[in-house]
């Protein structure tokens, strides 16, 4: 069994929480005591309010909106699912980015009565920027448009027109009613014209391969394990999680950014030595030579080195009330590495609903733009489009300690 992580996005009242509630309910993943709790809380239009399953905070239940990401879990005999139920409000875009950054697939909900709206553009743009491999556009509330195929096809056409400028590899469409359960887990009797799968079938069967076929081996060092006990007197292991590719004992290794070289002497795990290890395994690697390696360094297979430079170009989503202006300094955290950077320039800001790029003096909360950064030390990375695990970063404001931006290196 494997894991599929997906996010649900869409505007407020498009029915995201209801859809998740329906997926859990119809796949029999809701427990009796949870059901009783939401039944006690009251009904909407004569039906239990499935949205209450995910809106876990008091303030969310009071206002009937989703403020922060809720993670929900369910599994079928084929797969374990982790759902990030993300908020739809513009002011909580950063929380939507949080949910999307850990997902393999996005479900974008569209209200059949409203069609493609600004939030659909915004969320699709973010999904494209974060390079989620799959998008499933669910046209919801089909019951409110008489289950009309024409309405569905029009929305599909409208979305594809907009999406042709985006970098979305695979887009699927589904007509559903989350409230009634049409095409969510069970096929719908009300839409005989629809010959496709239900949403759950689709999620169960989609092939997950999020990175390129033979990615370059990347191992950012997290900790150095040195027991210094009599038994392990000379033991010096580099602990970390393989971000991409595969490592084998005997591989020639280059340490970045220093450029020192050695060979893999052993790959250790608590369960014993391994001959090969691959992404996303957490292991401990030992090298043949005693060379300087510490947290933040990256071990790569010699001949398959990434980019190493102090000058970085990236797309960023700004997440703080305090605006980002050129000249500001931040702490950049990429893999296990932390390095000071200054913002050299803001090349442009993107209007997410029109893709228009405009010159601006700064970047504000929930805005997206392209920047150039200068790092205090060389940074080893791959473009985000090649390897998400080494091409992504966050910026931390060292005054407030807040995470102020999500970045994707070019």
């Amino acid at each position: 069994m494997d894991i599929l992580r997906f996010i649900t996005a869409g505007s407020v009242d498009d029915g995201k929480s209801t859809l998740i509630g329906r997926l859990l309910y119809d796949s029999k993943s809701i427990f009796q005591d949870q059901l009783e709790a939401i039944e006690r809380a009251g009904q909407v239009n004569g039906q239990i309010n499935l949205a209450l399953l995910t809106d876990g905070l008091k303030a969310e239940r009071e206002q009937g909106i989703t403020i922060d990401v809720a993670y929900k879990y369910f599994s079928t005999p084929k797969r374990k699912f982790i759902i990030a139920d993300a908020p739809g409000h513009v002011q909580y875009t950063r929380n939507m980015v949080t949910g999307a950054s850990n997902s393999d697939l996005a479900i974008i909900l569209i209200d059949a009565r409203k069609g493609v709206i600004e939030q659909t553009y915004r969320h699709s743009y973010i999904v494209s920027l974060l390079r989620l491999p799959y998008v499933v556009v669910c046209v919801n509330k089909m019951d409110l448009v008489d289950f009309s195929e024409e309405v569905f096809l029009n929305i599909q056409k409208q979305y594809l027109e907009f999406a042709k400028d985006l970098d979305l590899k695979s887009i699927h469409f589904l007509p559903i009613s989350a409230l009634n359960g049409d095409n969510v887990v069970e096929p719908s009797n009300s839409m005989p014209w629809w010959k496709g799968k239900s949403l759950l079938n689709f999620l169960e069967e989609i092939e997950i391969h999020t990175e390129e076929e033979s990615p370059a081996p990347r191992f950012p060092v997290q900790n150095v394990i040195r027991p210094q006990t009599p038994e392990y007197h000379d033991y010096r292991g580099y602990a970390g999680q393989i971000r991409s590719g595969l490592f084998t004992v005997g591989d020639s290794i280059t340490v970045l950014p220093s450029g020192l070289t050695s060979k893999i002497k052993a790959i250790d795990s608590y369960d014993g030595p391994l001959n090969t290890a691959y992404s996303p395994m957490s292991v401990t690697i030992r090298l043949e030579d005693e060379i300087d390696v510490s947290r933040g360094d990256m071990l790569v297979v010699t001949g398959k080195e990434p980019v190493v430079t102090q000058d970085l170009e990236a797309h960023i989503c700004w997440m703080d009330q305090k605006v980002m202006a050129p000249g500001s300094k931040y702490l950049l955290r990429q893999t296990t590495n932390a390095v000071k950077v200054s913002v050299r320039s803001l090349e442009y800001r993107v209007e997410t609903s029109t893709h228009e790029k405009t010159e601006q003096p700064n970047l504000g909360l929930n805005e997206i733009g392209k920047v150039t950064l200068r790092a205090a030390k060389p940074v080893a990375y791959d473009p985000y489009s090649k390897i998400r695990g080494t091409g992504s970063f966050i910026l931390v404001d060292e005054g407030t300690n807040q995470t102020v931006a999500a970045g994707m290196l070019l």
């Binding site: 599994s75 998400r388 931390v396």
Partner: protein, 302 residues
């Protein structure tokens, strides 16, 4: 890389948890692992062995003992700490009560659950812990489903669900101001079933409480409660002996048993797969109000 180079869901979850534990070791000066002797924290200890051996743990195990724990869980706790040779620190809620810092609840169902936070915050201050690793899972409860893996708490230990840091990819930001601390939940993405399947796969030992046994019980609000010196019985209570086990182990005052014949991990997994109630359905502390867990977390509970 071929399709054979793909991890099962349990291996993926394990690798993620090891990565998180190692991030705690790297990003904090004085972390601690909150260890109660329950199945989730036992799994955390097992994951820490995988993350740091052949080295020592870069943190002590810390137990906030309410004084209402099951003897079996305490014995298990002490034996495990000794077996792996790691440091165990125990602090007592009774001491906080004796010092007048915490006030015991009154009534028929007194629980020390809420005042556990007082002792925890004092312990954090005593040792200047900047990170506390806990075995909480997001599937347990709806407020937990909202919480980040690195959850920043203010100087009062308080969680503000509206002001959580964005948490992007697997890049965790553990930077805090003096006085603040971070609660870290490496098994956030595990479900109850994942934990049990992991226990089976790794052959992890558990306290006998989790397996079917005979016990004196009383019925409380349709739940099966263990008879102990900590609960007050009156003439409306009828003591019976039943075959039970515990799905979750907290205080004897707030943890209900379930009637069960399951006495092996395989049996338990089969039982959970067909169960129609959540694990927390047997916790009286969560049934107190719609937002019981959220309120406790705002008060510094882990």
């Amino acid at each position: 890389m071929t399709s054979t180079h793909r991890l099962s869901h349990l291996d993926q979850l394990e690798s993620e948890a090891i990565y998180i534990l190692r991030e705690v070791a790297a990003q904090f000066e004085r972390p601690a692992l909150l260890f109660s002797g329950g199945k989730d924290s036992i799994c955390l200890v097992h994951l820490a062995l995988k993350a740091f051996r052949p080295g020592k743990f870069p943190f002590p195990l810390v137990h906030i003992d309410t004084g209402h724990n099951f003897d079996e869980a305490l014995r298990f706790r002490d034996n495990l700490a000794e077996k792996i040779g790691e440091k165990l620190i125990v602090r007592y809620v009774q001491d906080s009560i004796d010092q007048g810092k915490a006030v015991e609840e009154k009534g028929k169902f007194p629980s020390r659950n809420a005042i556990q936070a007082v002792t925890l915050l004092d312990t954090i201050a005593e040792f200047k812990f900047d990170a506390c690793i806990g075995g909480a899972r997001r599937d347990e409860e709806k407020a937990r489903a909202k919480e980040r893996i690195f959850s920043v708490r203010d100087e009062f230990g308080s969680w503000d669900p509206k002001l959580q840091r964005p948490e992007l990819w697997n890049i965790y930001n553990g930077k805090i101001h003096i006085g603040e601390n971070v609660r870290v939940f490496p098994i956030s993405n595990w479900t109850e079933l994942d934990v049990w399947e992991y226990i089976r796969k790794e052959k992890i030992d558990l306290p006998s409480l989790y397996f079917s046994h005979q016990r004196e019980i009383v019925w409380r609000e349709e739940l099966v409660f263990p008879v102990s010196k900590f609960i007050s019985l009156d003439n409306t209570d009828k003591v019976e002996t039943r075959t039970v086990r515990f799905r979750t182990v907290g205080d004897m005052t707030c943890t209900a048993a379930v009637e069960s014949e399951a006495n092996s991990v395989d049996d338990i997994i089969r039982e959970i797969q067909i169960s129609r109630t959540t694990e927390r359905g047997s916790r009286l502390d969560d049934k107190r109000s719609e937002a019981a867990m959220e309120d406790r977390k705002k008060g510094g509970y882990f």
